[in-house]
Amino acid sequence: MKSVERYLLPVLTAMVLIALWHLAVIATGTNIFPSPAAVAKGIFHLAEKSLLWSYIGDSIMRVVFGYGAAVILGIPLGILLGWYPALGRLVNPVIQMLRPISPLAWMPLAVIWFGVSNVAPIFLIFLASLFPLLVAAMDGVRNVPPMFLQAGRNFGLSVPQLMRRVVFPAILPRLLVGLRIAFGIAWLVLVAAEMIAVDSGLGYLIIDSRNAGKRYDLVVGGMLLIGIIGLAFDTMFRRAERLARAE
């Protein structure tokens, strides 16, 4: 009974909402806002034209590069800053000042530095994920219980061994949460960047569908795709968190 509810209830609410949406479109007699069926048809058409796949591919490629670079750079740097408190005190204020600058505010600079190309959005995504990751790693290292470090030293670990066998495992849970949150922001920024700075990707799909002919069916379709792909990534991160906790 319980497990039936678990699947039945969400399906039911989804059906009710879709029905309401459909009815609202009919009742208001709008011919701009699409009905659910129109959205499904729109996505179908795009999928046939293979344009959709290249858009999805472009979006994912940008996020992977920007976010990947932030991970490769941000985590070691964050660990370093956490490990050497003096260095941390010196650099932290700069991070704290750069961090709240909305990554999208960098757009004009990104465009003069990198031109209208793939690099500009990748740079924005990089910025958007870098700061949360830096801070997560830095805070993580600072909060490793001194007892763990003492125990590690007591067993004669060298600093690199200490990093690998004590510090890294100790900060991993926090780091994974930070990775997930950073990805959420990266995904958000990606869409905005694509709306402004390039001419491909899911963000572009949305803005272009609106500007070129008020194709709101494609707008809503694009939004749903963004939601579903974002959800897939989010689920992956949560899986990883659960695995790390189970170990």
Binding site: L9, P10, A14, L90, M97, M107, P108, L188, I206
Partner: protein, 249 residues
């Protein structure tokens, strides 16, 4: 000496920026001094205050509206299992849709203007806040709920005297994170959907004559206000009625 270190860090960074501009001889990226002058220019034209107020106004409305709706909604879902089963999957699908992806729809429904921006900020804060409140209710110690009922509290009393105080620490953290996202979104929304505010300042400065000093001035203002908002929210986290919730100090 120790207290000077952070300032030293900032000073070094600004100096490096200055050097980089001078050495590359670029005319596109302004020096720190040019950026400061640009802020002065904005102040003189009366735009500084106007844009800051415009941005803060939008964030305030969108964010508080979201607080008002999301927290009761999240608590309701957290205490009512069936409701959560029914609604949670939908929240999870809607949540990762970048609030900015709603821009075309926001414009369609609300036109180009404040209302659109407020709507986007509302969306940006609503989902994270709902999820935070819901999770926080799940994380309440069963023992505390049992103790509450044992002392004869009715449902409404339980809500006020146990559930609310118990979730507050997590809620306050969630509120800080949501405000950060709201601030990020307002800038982006203003770049696309309205004609005032700090985000608009940035695109406008660039489009109307490549005034990169104004661009950077806008960025500095955005950063500074972001810092202030974050600090204010962190203040909340030091108050007695939530401090217990943050493990070992």
């Amino acid at each position: 000496m120790r207290r000077l270190v952070p300032f030293l860090g900032v000073a070094l960074a600004v100096f490096a920026w200055h050097l980089a501009v001078v050495m590359t001889g670029t005319r596109l990226v302004p020096s720190p001094w040019a950026a400061v002058r640009a802020i002065g220019e904005l102040a003189q034209k009366g735009l500084l205050l106007k844009y800051i107020v415009a941005s803060l106004f939008r964030v305030t409305w969108g964010y508080f509206l979201a607080l008002l709706l999301a927290i009761p909604f999240g608590i309701a879902l957290g205490t009512w299992r069936r409701g959560e089963l029914a609604v949670n999957p939908l929240i999870q699908v809607l949540r990762p849709i970048s609030p900015l992806a709603w821009i075309p729809i926001a414009i369609l429904w609300f036109g180009v203007g404040d209302l659109s921006a407020v709507f986007l900020i509302f969306l940006a804060s609503f989902f994270p806040l709902t999820v935070t409140a819901m999770q926080a209710v799940h994380n309440i110690e069963t023992i505390h709920l049992s103790a509450g009922t044992n002392f004869g509290l009715s449902r409404p009393q339980l809500l006020v005297r146990v559930i609310l105080p118990a979730i507050l620490p997590q809620l306050v953290v969630g509120m800080r994170l949501a405000l950060g996202v709201a601030w990020l979104v307002v800038v982006a929304a203003e770049m696309i959907a309205v004609n005032s505010g700090l985000g608009f300042l940035i695109v406008d400065a660039r489009n109307a004559g490549d005034r990169y000093d104004l661009v950077v001035a806008g960025m500095i203002l955005i950063g500074a206000i972001g810092v202030v908002l974050d600090l204010l929210m962190r203040r909340l986290e030091t108050l007695d009625f939530v401090r217990w919730g943050y493990a070992s100090e």
